[in-house]
């Protein structure tokens, strides 16, 4: 056993690893969206699934293309699943019957501009999926607001068939009657609230359909929200699973929901004017946003206190934009606005380090010559 001096591997500690990988994290997040996707498909037809598939292919193609241009190893980066996750989230967020090109534009913009122009995974300050979403929402407001399918029970207890969805998405046939498409409950309530009282609004089939009552397996309570509550509960379940797997911490989702809930309860006392809290929490993209979008680690705040502020900020902004803004939902804009603030929040929310009286916060002062090194472990 003659070992030469140079024949030894030199690497620095630690020499062991927990085995967690980025691709595993991304994959788990993707898997956790499955219940939500099932609920969406059940209530709103095949559109979402078609969107997701289309978005995924677009995303992978874009990613591969850019990696090639940037001369990066393609397979190494593709297998981190982050492009796929962006695609899935966008596919879910877009209206089920949005034309194919809306999806393609949103996804390619997300991948190329929001992600790779900033240096790729980990360096993007804004949530790529939400940048893509915001772009198409601003550019194609009509397609983005009218292509929500109405829940199956309102269109004659039948979802639109798969082939019909395909043709709507790809050839833009307006072959479907208005019976199949419509606005979301949040939007509906908001618009109706301009002239109607709460009692009248709740007569709308979206909120009180008998079929809906049957579907929910009970009475049609007055906050029933056209299938959306099941979608949100499904996303909530997926999110809780991720929480249990410690993929992210409770800080952001909880503070987001708490802030949104508090705002909507405070204002919601007048149901004739404001959307009730139940609709805020259980319709639209609330749960998706709270557990899958706001928690995107790259663009969120990373300190424990920072995460709480960040989540709460998104919750408040969602309420503000939903209530006084012109767009049907607000998660994308709220998230993007808080993305702006995340670095600043981080700077001012450093935790107190072991052995320090209090936390150092804010910008660094000059190098201070008195601090000494303390790396010794045990004497």
């Amino acid at each position: 056993m003659a070992l030469s001096n140079s024949g030894f591997v030199k690497i620095t500690s630690p020499h062991t690893h927990g085995g967690n990988t980025t691709s595993r994290i991304m994959l788990l997040v993707i898997l956790a969206t499955v219940p939500g996707i099932i609920a969406l498909t059940y209530f709103f037809g095949w559109g979402t699934l078609i969107n997701i598939v289309l978005a995924s292919f677009t995303a992978l193609a874009c990613e591969a293309l850019i990696l090639k241009i940037r001369k990066r190893p393609i397979s190494f980066f593709l297998k981190d699943n982050s492009a796929l996750l962006t695609a899935v989230l966008l596919g879910i967020a877009l209206p089920p019957l949005a034309p194919w090109w809306v999806t393609v534009v949103a996804v390619s913009f997300a991948m190329i501009f929001a992600k790779h122009l900033y240096g790729g995974l980990g360096n993007n300050p804004f949530n790529p999926a939400m940048v893509g979403y915001a772009l198409v929402l601003i550019s194609f407001p009509v397609q983005m607001t009218t292509n929500w399918t109405v829940p199956y029970f309102m269109s004659g207890a039948e979802t639109i068939p798969f082939t019909n969805s395909l043709s709507v998405i790809f050839s833009g046939t307006a072959g479907l009657s208005d019976a199949f498409t419509g606005a979301t409950p949040l939007d509906t309530y908001k618009h109706l609230a301009k002239n109607e009282t709460a009692v009248e609004i709740l007569q709308n089939p979206l909120f009180s359909s008998d079929v809906a009552g049957a579907a929910s397996g009970g009475s049609a309570s007055n906050w029933f929200a056209g299938g959306w509550e099941f979608v949100n509960i499904a996303f909530l379940l997926g999110g809780l699973a991720l929480l249990a797997l410690r993929i992210f911490t409770w800080h952001i989702p909880l503070s987001l929901l708490a802030a949104l809930g508090t705002c909507s309860v405070i204002f919601g006392w007048d149901a004739d004017l404001y959307v009730p809290w139940s609709l805020h929490i259980f319709t639209g993209a609330t749960m998706l946003g709270a557990f899958f979008i706001a928690t995107d680690p790259v663009t969120a705040s990373t300190t424990p206190l920072g995460k709480i502020i960040y989540g709460a900020g998104i919750g408040i902004l969602i309420f503000v934009i939903r209530t006084w803004g012109a767009y049907p939902d607000a998660v994308a804009f709220a998230v993007l606005l808080m993305n702006f603030a995340a670095p600043l929040i981080d700077t001012y929310t450093q935790p107190r380090t072991y052995g320090h009286e209090k936390a150092k916060r804010g910008m660094p002062a000059k190098l201070d010559t008195s601090t000494t090194d303390s790396t010794s472990k045990e004497g």
């Binding site: 030894f8 591997v9 980990g122 981080d346 450093q350 303390s374 790396t375 010794s376 045990e378």
Partner: protein, 697 residues
């Protein structure tokens, strides 16, 4: 004693323990190696002074190097034999440091020094002995912390005047694989407990807490029994603490047992605590009660590449190879080699193609890989780990940080590892400081959980080094600035005195001249009414400052040279950095260390050179200020002269250039470059001239 309320430290991880492999057999005593390599600097503090010479015969336990200064430790011969060399050798250290080693050829007798063998050094009634006697004994026996850092125990125990309330004994042993302390507590509980009693007496602490992770029930039981035997229950408490890495970190253990935090940059004694490792306690007992110096320790040898993982009592200075041979080291073969063997081709001489062995001193979380198996066991070497590739695979290629925050959750020091990583990567030392990088204990918990497999700790070590250097450079430049200013003051004073004297002389001369002048004046007035300036008038002033221009030029030249040097170093560093970056983006992570370490050298060079430039620039500025007259003295002629000289030079170069062109010489590009430079200089001179003219106009 009342029950202890346990606290918890933040973060922490639960890596696979892998401790059972090495606890199956009792501690064995390693056979004598034929040669021992004993470094004299194994501890924190100054290396000891060698007091033996090559050719001397030494006996086991004989002092071979005595402590130098207060923070230092004695070194003894681990066995009897002959000193064959005293030389610089590589030490087992994460950065491959060199240090003086005493090489002893064993005579195979292992003969103790007489006084130790006959027990005349033993202090029997140690609990009645004087503290000073005990401390001196601990110092004379070269006891240092056996848990990791290797701090001299006598220094730590010299707590006179400090109010120590709690003595904490660290038996946590939280690193995976290592079982040296576990076995020690099981097999030598009584000695350890007596050592603890001695330390308790020395610190005069009110009570003592022995923290042991609850994955070592046998050790806890043994220690409790020993405690009962020595009737120490009133002051000493054996505490079982939850298993969580790094509970054995001094700061973390203190937090678990007392809820107190050691102030940043401070030591436990500041909050009335002294912390010692169990192994150290046993060594203290042996030193005091048996008079034996620290010449051996218990080391775990384990890992899948070891045939018989176990704990051995090994002499300090034993080459790791001896240990590996004893426990059976199976060198892993590369796939290619396996294939080669399986088809029966080739004999075993293809050692070069064998998979490189990886041997870690310490545990998998904080240990470091050895560059060779010729390196010796130190007083602080608690484990030799030889894992198989499968067991501890080298990390994958790091991917981008996704800011998932898992590292923040794992950090026991409540740092923000991902921020530290970003700042380290971008070289923002001030921000890294602001984020308390100095409080990082390099436990590796963050790297362990990082899904992107980023070697975070490596980045932190590097940044800490850079900060230290920057600070040293700053101190140095501050010091030299002070020195410079003092010197400047003195020079100014002297110049002022001279000036005063000169003025006095000049005044006298003037008076004498005034008479002459008065006579000449009339004639002059008449002769030249157009008022030609008297060229003599400025000459005395010029004479006074005459020495200055020489200085100025010299300074300028020095400055230029220093600047060129600085640029060279900076280029080199940039190059290295680029290389390191390329390497990282490439495929392997392993070789990155070499350039980084090299880089530190170059960065140091940059720092010193930068200082020099700064200093020179400062001096130059000062000199210029004090000699402003000279600057204005540059005349148009001077510039023109320079210009002409430059033109001549260019002509010559051109000729050479043409010649080279004709001959197709290789020096062509270099000449071209030189020519370009000269042309540039010419242009500058022309510009200067133009400016001069403009100013004059």
């Amino acid at each position: 004693m009342q029950p202890i309320t346990l606290h918890s430290f933040s973060g922490g991880i639960h890596p696979q323990e892998n401790k059972h492999q090495s606890t199956q057999t009792p501690i064995t005593v390693l056979p004598l190696p034929s040669q021992l390599i004993v470094p004299v600097g194994q501890h924190i503090g100054a290396p000891a002074d060698v007091i033996v010479a090559v050719g001397n015969r030494v006996l086991k336990g004989q002092l071979i190097a005595q402590p130098k200064g207060f923070v230092s430790a004695a070194i003894h011969a681990p066995t009897s034999g002959k000193i064959v060399a005293i030389e610089q050798r590589e030490l087992p250290h994460s950065s491959g440091l060199q240090g003086t080693c005493v090489i002893i050829d064993s005579d195979g007798q292992d003969t103790w020094l007489e006084e130790i063998a006959n027990g005349s050094r033993a202090i029997a009634d140690y609990l009645e002995a004087d503290n000073e006697v005990l401390i001196n004994r601990i110092r004379d026996c070269g006891i240092t912390g056996l848990g990791g850092a290797g701090f001299p125990t006598s220094v730590k125990m010299a707590v006179n005047g400090k109010n120590i309330e709690t003595l904490i004994i660290n038996g946590a042993e939280c690193e995976p694989y290592i079982t040296a302390d576990d076995k020690l507590m099981q097999e030598r509980a009584l000695e350890t407990m007596r050592g603890i009693q001695i330390l308790l007496k020395l610190t005069a602490a009110n009570h003592c807490l022995i923290g042991i992770e609850d994955n070592k029930p046998a050790a806890i039981k043994a220690m409790k029994e020993a405690l009962h035997q020595v009737h120490g229950e009133h002051f000493i408490n054996v505490v079982s603490i939850p298993t969580k890495y790094p509970s054995g970190g001094e700061k973390q253990l203190i937090e678990i047992l007392t809820g107190k935090e050691v102030p940043s940059g401070g030591i436990p004694a500041e909050i009335g605590i002294v912390c010692q490792n169990v192994g150290t306690c046993e060594a203290v007992y042996r030193a005091v009660a048996e008079g034996k110096p620290l010449i051996s320790r218990i080391t775990t040898i384990t890992g899948e590449s070891i045939e018989q993982p176990q704990n051995v009592e090994v002499l300090i200075g034993t080459p790791v190879k001896h240990l590996l041979d004893f426990a059976g080291f199976k060198q892993e073969k590369s796939l290619f080699q396996k294939f080669w063997h399986s088809i029966g081709a080739g004999s075993d001489n293809s050692a070069a193609s064998a998979a490189k062995p990886r041997i870690i001193m310490g545990g998998p979380m904080m240990g470091f890989t050895l560059s060779s198996d010729e390196l010796p066991i130190l007083k602080s070497s608690n484990c030799i780990l030889a894992p198989s590739q499968k067991e501890l695979p080298a990390n994958d290629v790091a991917s981008a940080c996704i800011r998932c925050g898992l590292c923040t959750e794992a950090c026991p020091a409540d740092l923000l590892p991902q921020q530290l990583y970003w700042f380290s990567k971008s070289g923002e030392l001030d921000k890294a400081e602001q984020h308390n990088i100095a409080d990082c204990i390099e436990c590796g918990a963050c790297s362990y959980v990082c899904p992107s497999q980023i070697p975070l700790v490596q980045y932190y070590r590097h940044t800490k080094g850079a900060i230290k250097e920057e600070r040293a450079a700053q101190d140095k430049s501050n010091r030299s600035k002070i020195r410079f200013e003092a010197r400047q003051d003195r020079l100014d004073r002297e110049a002022a005195e001279k000036e005063a004297k000169r003025q006095a002389r000049a005044a006298a001369a003037e008076k004498a001249q005034a008479a002459k002048k008065a006579a000449a004046a009339k004639a002059a007035e008449e002769a030249a009414k157009n008022g030609d300036a008297n060229p003599d008038e400025s000459s005395p002033a010029q004479a006074a400052v005459k020495p200055e221009p020489v200085d100025l030029d010299k300074l300028q030249k020095q400055l230029d040279a220093a600047q060129a040097g600085l640029k060279k170093s900076m280029d080199k560093v940039a190059e290295l950095k680029a290389a390191a970056a390329a390497e990282k983006n490439g495929d392997t992570e392993a070789p990155i260390e070499a350039p980084i370490e090299n880089m530190e050298v170059f960065e140091k060079a940059v720092a010193t050179r930068r200082d020099k430039v700064k200093l020179l620039a400062l001096q130059l500025a000062e000199a210029k200020k004090s000699a402003p007259v000279v600057k204005k003295e540059i005349t148009r002629d001077d510039i023109e002269k320079k210009l002409r000289a430059q033109q001549d030079r260019i002509d010559k170069t051109k000729q050479r250039f043409e010649l080279a062109q004709e001959q197709g010489s290789e020096t062509l590009p270099a000449l071209q470059k030189g020519l370009d430079k000269q042309m540039q200089k010419l242009k500058e001179l022309e510009e200067e001239l133009a400016q001069f003219d403009k100013a004059g106009a």
